[in-house]
Amino acid sequence: MSLAEPAALPVATSAAPRLHLLKRFMGRFRASLPAYLLLLPSLVFLALFTYGAMGRVFVDALYQRATPKAPVRFVGLDNISAVLADPAFTGAVTNNLIYAVGTAVPSIALALLFALALSRTHAVSSALRAALFLPVLIPMVAASALFLFIFLPNVGLLDYYIGRLLPVLPNWLGDPDIALYAIMIITIWKNAGYYMLFFLAGLQAVPEDVMEAAHLDGAGPYMRLRHIILPELKPTFLFVTVIATLNAVTQVDHVFVMTQGGPSNATNLVLFYIYQQAVEHYDIGKASAATLLTLAALMGLTALSFRTMANREGGP
């Protein structure tokens, strides 16, 4: 309260401030009304399919049916503990972690290589960029159909060309020790070109004159990469890592088409496990519990990357 403002009389304060507050709130609400109306269509769908869906996951995870036809009953945290005790789920989590690291690291490294090599725009580099970007466009299902043949034992593309150099031909998709890595190759092939675009955009922020000055001071290509380019690309790395992790959790179409999670669950990933529980076993309780655990893990990642994302979208 400023000095110029006369102090309110104690008599008047009994009823007026509350009314005043309500009035101010109403005024603010009325002024905000057009904005709320504009946001309403989006908020309805967000409420139904994002936040409402999260609420339903919470509730569904607490209920279970004794038999498929029986009514649901409250079971508390039983679903969660059942999922955590399910070797198929823990196996899927382990697979997913290996898969996330094994796809994110190589595809980001390749993306950086591609971007560094193709940062100058001319006809040749544009053609190469397009070639590396093509896999990003096609459906994962189509990529899987092509790679089914590439990995086909004996007559497939890989065995036909590389197999002659190897003493023993591995069964790429049939061997539980190899299948997960075969699946990872598709993901790397499909995503490296996408991440390349972000590095290409990031590289434009590296000032050319600083690079030239560093060279004059005797810094070789490696030194310039290590001390000028990489520090400049740090936000890009953070951002691409978040997307790559998200992709590792949400892209499972190739598992469905190529291996169905097999052989012996070697390529089962978490989202495919959720799909199996819901669609093949009709176990909504367990599927919801697994979804809940996945969401919790992603929320952790979100908390880590929230500031990056908010800044990228221009802040609230």
């Binding site: 989006s42 967000l46 994002t50 996951v57 096609i138 790679f147 593309l157 290509p221 949400t250 996945t294």
Partner: protein
């Protein structure tokens, strides 16, 4: 050497003699060729006659007697025209509704001041991480409750609101000078009229960027339509292709699979090759699809 000199002609003079960048470039050229091999095989295998036998299937040299038999077989076995129509309906339906929701919400964030702006902004931002595909289980039960199980509308609904699109439009609208809007305000234009006649026409590049991202990502959606759709005649291309692949794989008809895959991805590839620059810049803005 002449070609390499040409490629590096606008590099700083001092760095032109360095070897490492050239090695990196050579490695990238090599990998780009490897990257294209699956596509090359697809085209070669599509045109290969069945008489070449299974052992020649992997051969990347085109057959000397090219044939369209595989294309005809794929066309007859799979119901690709039907699948294409379904996918087109899904992508168009999603895009049209998204245009409305993201324009309105984007405008609210760009130009209006309202109570609770920050929490609502974060509500939208969270959706970038909580991608609908993670919530397939609860969303399937909601779609079923709404009576939309096994309908194309059911496939579309979870994507009607788009945080990414909202942020993209907000950015576009913020760049439009307020003077234009003030002039319209003096002329008595209502809020919706101003959006419709000033903001939307000036933001076409952002709309087209969003359309490219939205259509390519929903053209490629698989797990969600697989769960929602039950009738064969409502399958989108991806689900149709997976069923088709399963059938043809049993009979080792790899030429037919290659032809089917080619038919599914050809529309996207053709559009991409025509609008290459625009596609690439749209994907750069996309971040999260």
């Amino acid at each position: 050497m002449n070609l390499i000199d040409r490629l590096y002609k606008d590099a700083p003079l001092a760095t032109r003699g360095e070897i490492t960048p050239k090695l990196g470039f050579a490695l990238t050229v090599l990998l780009a060729i490897v990257w294209l091999i699956p596509f090359l095989w697809m085209v070669v295998a599509t045109l290969r006659p069945a008489s070449d036998g299974i052992n020649a299937m992997a051969e990347l040299m085109p057959s000397l007697k090219p044939t369209l038999d595989n294309v005809r077989d794929a066309w007859e076995i799979g119901d690709f025209p039907r699948y294409t129509i379904n996918t087109t309906i899904i992508c168009t339906g999603i895009l049209l509704v998204q245009f409305v929701t993201i324009t309105l919400a984007g405008f609210a964030f760009a130009r209006l001041d309202f109570a609770g702006k920050t929490p609502i902004f974060y509500l939208f931002l969270m959706q970038l991480m909580l991608v609908p595909v993670l919530l397939i289980v609860p969303n399937l039960s909601l779609v079923a409750q709404l009576g939309l199980y096994d309908t194309l509308t059911g496939v579309m609904m979870p994507f009607f609101a788009s945080a990414f699109g909202t942020f993209l439009m907000r950015q576009a609208f913020e760049a439009i000078p307020t003077e234009l809007e003030d002039a319209a305000l003096i002329d008595g234009a209502s809020l919706l009229q101003r959006i419709r006649h000033i903001y939307v026409p000036l933001s076409m590049p952002s709309f087209s960027a969003f359309a490219i991202i939205s259509v390519t990502s929903h053209w490629n959606d698989f797990l969600w339509p697989l769960m929602v759709i039950n009738s064969p005649d409502k399958r989108p291309l991806t689900v149709g292709l997976s069923v088709f692949t399963k059938t043809a794989e049993g009979t080792q008809a790899w030429g037919t699979i290659a032809a089917g895959t080619l038919m599914v991805i050809a529309p996207l590839l053709v559009v991409f090759l025509i609008f290459q620059k625009r596609f690439i810049s749209s994907f750069v803005t996309s971040g999260i699809k």
